[in-house]
Each structure stands twice: as structure tokens, then as C-alpha cells.
């Protein structure tokens, strides 16, 4: 049975694990990537419904630039998980209804709320 795909490119393994466990409640296939550099290829390959990435990676590309690029390439939603401040993120982001931001440290409630908003609509 075909399941919609969620690509996960969170560079912190603990947070990535936490996110994956929270995503289990949703009827999605979660594909965890090794790094943001795989996103473009994975996006082409999987045609995901949701892409979860970081606003800033310790190495590699700028997350927001990646997000803009992916928004242009596909119809997937983007969830940007970040420890940066709202002002900083909003100054760099492009207004797009498909772009969601989850600010760390998020509570269970905030995470659930955000995932529901991204996945339910997607589903």
C-alpha cells in the first residue's frame, strides 16, 4: 500500500528520533536522510508530502535556501525545525502557506499541533 512519504533531515540524532516516534501516529512513511545534501535527490525520488529540515545545519547548505528550492521543485510541505529566533527566521523566509516553522525547544503539545497541521492537511 502506498503511504505518503515524509523526508526527515534533522541533523541531531536524538531530536530526529523523537520526531520519528511522534510521527508514528501518522500514516506516513518516514525516510530519515543522513544529511541535507541528500534532500534534493530524495525529493525527486520519493515525491514526499512533507519534508522536515533544519533552519541551520552545522555543515552544508543553508536550510531556508534549501526550503525555498524545494518549494519551487515540488508540491511538498516544508517543516523547518529551528532553535533560531522568530525574527531571524521570518526575515529570511519566503511567505508560503506550505512553509511551517517549529521553534525549539518545543513542547509535546506544540509538536503535536504542528505535525497535525502539516500531516493532516497533507493526508
Amino acid at each position: 500500500m502506498y503511504s505518503p512519504v515524509i523526508l526527515l533531515a534533522e541533523d541531531d540524532p536524538i531530536i530526529a528520533l523523537d520526531l520519528m516516534e511522534n510521527l508514528e501516529q501518522f500514516p506516513f512513511q518516514v525516510v530519515e536522510l543522513d544529511g541535507p545534501e541528500e534532500l534534493s535527490a530524495a525529493n525527486s525520488a520519493y515525491q514526499p508530502s512533507l519534508i522536515i529540515l533544519n533552519y541551520r545545519y552545522s555543515e552544508g547548505p543553508n536550510g531556508m535556501e534549501l526550503a525555498r528550492s524545494l518549494l519551487a521543485q515540488s508540491s511538498a510541505k516544508i517543516l523547518c525545525v529551528t532553535g533560531a529566533g522568530r525574527a531571524e527566521v521570518e526575515s529570511e523566509s519566503t511567505p508560503d502557506s506550505r512553509l511551517h516553522v517549529l521553534y525549539k525547544p518545543f513542547s509535546r503539545a506544540q509538536l503535536q499541533s504542528c505535525l497535525k497541521a502539516c500531516c493532516n492537511a497533507t493526508a
Partner: protein, 533 residues
């Protein structure tokens, strides 16, 4: 016949000789006369022609005389270089022909030369030498005449007493020529000398004679000097009115009289000198002004340059400071970022661990821990998001916190309401975090125990959070529920939460009151620590 021829020949040659001798001598005499008449140029021309003839004749006596006359003319025309030249050429000629008279005159002229240039000691030496020569010639009059020059030298040196000693013999010697220029000059010398010595009576005696003689001899220059001395004499006598009148007569005479050409020339020379000096002074002043302006210009330029440099320096400093501030801001952002990241990792760890725990007590403990981390995490989330980087807006924070708590405890919608009575206020991190943890513990207690076993009632289950500050900026917190008044497990529980509340309250210098009843449980804490907004 032979005698007649001899006589004729003698007459011829003697006549020719006489005529040759007479020509040089005639020229000398003519030059002398022209000099006396004041025709200096004519005199000089004639004398120079006579000089060439006298040189051919090797006539030392005539040469001595001609050089003396030329020297006198040079002195009268103020050509003192020529004076010295003529003197130095004349003296050897006089010595050669043993013309003591000419020699004495030339030495006298040399003294006059030194007097002109105020070489008074040299002048006196020359005058003494000249006087000795005149005395040797037994020319008493000439010797006494030298005394007048010596008197002039002493007067120039300011030794009026010694000058008087020189003038008096000269005066006495001229008494036998009472109407002569010499006697008039003697009176001039003494009138002036006694004026300098402030002996008005003696000065008047000689000045009256001066005025009389100068009028008789039509010597206007000497007469005008007499008028001037008359004014001085009255002044020394302290007859100031008479002195003024005398000076007025002098000024009128000076203006109205025919001033000798020499005086006119002197006046014009002085005037020219004055005008030149005035122009030079103007030029100097203009140059000074120009220099001052230049200095001002360069000072202004320098000042502007310094100001520009200072401005540039200030700009560079401002840019550096701004850059430093930006770097600091960036660092602070980075620190916040990492803190929030770490808090997220902590929260995620606790959540992940809680999924492995089956024991309810342990699970509760982990979840409570997770809630505490979430409470702190929310502070940091709100901390960075606000305009005030280091402060948290409590009303917004508590509303989000309350929602999170309800969802964390899985409270169904509508089962428990959160009410907020929070005054808008900003709290710094050091206050917000312990306060947030206190509120977390109190709300946790209410969520866990307040509504357990509560009978359904008309009033919905409510947890109210109140946060206000008073006039002294002291903070007042109240967390109250309308539950059963239970705040903990009947068995007492670990009490960790209560201890935490007490410790954190103590940190904030808070005083706690508890109101517990069947209508609910309320905790009120008043913090003495002033809130900085």
C-alpha cells in the same frame, strides 16, 4: 742788447712760469671762491682741473690745499667717503711740503669726519692734533677755533661741563671781533650749552647776543636757533606762558622766513626719509597682516584637518563598536540557539525514555521532569522571540504554558479550564525561570490532584493563574483551583515538588501562603524582589 735780451727772455720765461704756476693756483683760488659761494659742483670741477696741473708740477703745497678744499666740499655735501679719501691723500702732501698750516687744517677736517660718525674719541684725538699743529704755527685764533669743535664733541658725548670749558676760551678769543660770524657762533655754542645745563640766566645772556648778532648779519638760520633757545630758556625759568609765546614766534619765523636751501634740502631729505620709512612701515604692516592671515589660514586648515581626522577617527570607532556590538549580538544569538537546542535534546531524551517506562510512578516522574524542561524551554523560546532579548513577556508565556500543560496531561477539551489574570509585564531570565518552574509545580499539583474525585458541579474545573505587581514593583503570584482542596497524594508523596517550590521561592525572596479548603486550593506567593521592567 744782450742785457735786454736776457731780461726779455727772463721776463718771457718767468712770465710763462708764472702763468703756469698761476693757472693751477688760479684754479685753486677759483675753486675756493666757488666753494665759499656754495657752488659745490663748480668748485669741484675747477679744483679737479687744478689738481691735475698741480700733480704734473708735483706741487705738494698746492695739492695739500686742493685736497683740503675738496674734502671741505665733500663734507658740506655729506659725501664722507670722499672726505676721507681727500684727507688721506692730502695729509702726505702737507707733510711732504711741510705745510703745517694745510696739515693742521686737514687733521681738523679729519676730526670733523669722525665727529660726523660720532667716533668721539677719534674726533678728539684729531682735534687735539690739529690744535697742537696750529699752536706750533702760533695761529692762536685757529687753535682756539679747534676748541669749538672739541666742545661740539664733548657736547655730543653729553659732557656739557667739559664742552663749556672748550667754548669759553673760544668766546673770549672772539670778543675782539664782536660783530663777526665767529663771535656769533661762540654765542650759539654757549647759549645751547647753558640750555643743556639748565642755566637759564647764562643761556639768556649769550642768546640775547646771538639774536642781536644774527639779525645784524642777516643769519636767519642762527636767528631761528636763537628764538628756539629763547623758548627753552623761558621754559627752564618756568615762565611757561613766555616759553609758549617764544615758541610761537620761533614757529612763525620758521614758517615765514626764507629757509636756506640747505635747510630745505635737509627738510626734504628728512621728509623723504619719513615717507620712505612710512611706506616701509606700511609694507611691513601689510606683510605682517599677510603673514597673520596666512597663519590663520593654515591654522584653520590645520584645525579643519584635525577635525576631519577626529571625525574619521570617530567614524572608524563607531564602525568598530557597531561591528563589535553586532558580533556580540551574534554570539548571544548563537548561545541562545545552542541553549534552546540543548533543552530540546533534553526534552526529547526524557520523552524517548518515558516511552520505555512501564512503571507509572517512574513514568510520572519522567513526565514531570519533561514538563519542567518544557517550562524552562518555553521561557527560552519566548525569550528570544520578543523584542526584549533578555526578558520574557509573562502574559503570553503563561498562556502558552497553560495550554502545553493541559495537552501534556492529556486533559480533554473542556474538562479543565485555564484562567489567566496576568498583568502585562516583562521579567528577566533570572526571575522568569524560577517563577515558571514554581508555576509549573503548582499547576501540576492542581492538574494531578485537585479535580480527582471531584463531584460534578455547575462550575467547570478551573485553574487560575494570577500575576500582578504592586506600586513598589513587588510581584504577587496566585495559583488557585476550585478543586477538592487536595494538593498531593494522600500518602504524602515524595514532596519533591513542594521542596522545589520552597527553594525557588526562597531564591526569589518570596513569602508563601496557602489556602486550602473544600472549595479549592490556592497558593499565594509575594516576592520581595523588585521587578525590573
Amino acid at each position: 742788447m744782450k742785457r735786454n735780451l736776457t731780461f726779455i727772455l727772463l721776463l718771457f720765461f718767468s712770465g710763462s712760469l708764472f702763468s703756469q704756476k698761476s693757472e693751477a693756483d688760479s684754479l685753486y683760488r677759483l675753486g675756493y671762491e666757488k666753494g665759499v659761494a656754495g657752488d659745490w659742483d663748480g668748485a669741484t670741477s675747477v679744483l679737479l682741473r687744478g689738481l691735475s696741473l698741480a700733480e704734473k708740477e708735483n706741487n705738494a703745497k698746492l695739492l695739500c690745499g686742493i685736497y683740503f678744499q675738496l674734502g671741505k666740499i665733500s663734507a658740506n655735501t655729506n659725501n664722507y667717503d670722499a672726505v676721507l679719501q681727500n684727507i688721506n691723500k692730502g695729509i702726505p702732501q702737507c707733510q711732504a711740503c711741510k705745510d703745517t698750516s694745510g696739515w693742521s687744517r686737514i687733521e681738523l677736517l679729519k676730526g670733523v669726519y669722525y665727529l660726523k660718525f660720532k667716533k668721539l674719541d677719534s674726533a678728539l684725538v684729531q682735534f687735539q692734533l690739529s690744535q697742537n699743529l696750529f699752536m706750533a704755527l702760533k695761529d692762536t685764533m685757529a687753535a682756539v677755533g679747534v676748541l669749538a669743535k672739541m666742545g661740539n664733541a664733548y657736547e655730543m658725548a653729553g659732557d656739557y661741563v667739559q664742552a663749556e670749558k672748550c667754548y669759553l676760551p673760544y668766546y673770549d678769543a672772539t670778543l675782539n671781533q664782536p660783530n663777526s660770524y665767529a663771535h656769533m657762533n661762540a654765542n650759539i655754542f654757549l647759549a645751547a650749552n647753558y640750555c643743556y645745563q639748565e642755566k637759564p640766566d647764562k643761556a639768556k645772556f649769550h642768546n640775547d647776543k646771538l639774536l642781536q648778532l644774527s639779525q645784524a648779519l642777516n643769519a636767519k638760520f642762527e636767528y631761528s636757533n636763537g628764538l628756539r633757545y629763547a623758548a627753552l630758556i623761558e621754559y627752564h625759568k618756568k615762565n611757561f606762558e613766555a616759553a609758549y609765546k617764544a615758541m610761537t614766534r620761533y614757529a612763525d619765523f620758521y614758517q615765514d622766513s626764507l629757509i636756506p636751501e640747505q635747510q630745505i634740502k635737509q627738510v626734504e631729505a628728512v621728509k623723504a626719509e619719513y615717507e620712505t620709512e612710512k611706506k616701509d612701515a606700511q609694507i611691513r604692516l601689510q606683510e605682517e597682516q599677510l603673514n597673520t592671515e596666512r597663519l590663520r589660514f593654515w591654522a584653520l586648515l590645520g584645525g579643519l584637518g584635525l577635525a576631519l581626522l577626529a571625525g574619521i577617527g570617530l567614524m572608524v570607532l563607531i564602525i568598530k563598536l557597531r561591528k563589535r556590538n553586532k558580533e556580540k549580538e551574534y554570539l548571544i544569538k548563537e548561545i541562545h540557539h545552542r541553549v534552546k537546542n540543548n533543552l530540546q535534546i533534553l526534552s526529547s531524551l526524557l520523552h524517548l525514555q518515558s516511552r520505555q517506562i512501564t512503571d507509572d510512578t517512574a513514568l510520572d516522574a519522567v513526565r514531570e521532569g519533561q514538563n519542567r524542561v518544557d517550562a524552562m524551554g518555553l521561557i527560552h523560546q519566548k525569550l528570544y522571540m520578543g523584542d526584549h532579548v533578555a526578558k520574557v513577556e509573562m502574559k503570553d508565556y503563561l498562556q502558552h504554558f497553560g495550554q502545553n500543560m493541559l495537552e501534556s496531561f492529556g486533559v480533554e477539551e473542556g474538562n479543565i479550564h485555564m484562567e489567566y489574570d496576568v498583568e502585562p509585564m516583562y521579567l528577566d531570565v533570572d526571575t522568569a525561570i524560577p517563577l515558571g518552574l514554581i508555576i509549573n509545580e503548582l499547576v501540576t499539583n492542581s492538574l494531578k490532584y485537585a479535580f480527582r474525585n471531584k463531584q460534578p458541579a455547575d462550575q467547570p474545573n478551573t485553574i487560575r493563574i494570577r500575576l500582578h505587581k504592586d506600586a513598589k514593583n513587588l510581584l504577587h503570584l496566585e495559583v488557585a483551583d476550585n478543586g477538592t482542596g487536595q494538593s498531593a497524594e494522600p500518602s504524602g508523596g515524595t514532596g519533591f515538588g513542594s521542596n522545589l517550590i520552597k527553594m525557588l521561592s526562597k531564591k526569589l525572596k518570596g513569602h508563601m501562603e496557602v489556602q486550602q479548603s473544600a472549595a479549592g486550593y490556592a497558593t499565594r506567593i509575594s516576592f520581595e524582589r523588585a521587578i525590573v521592567d
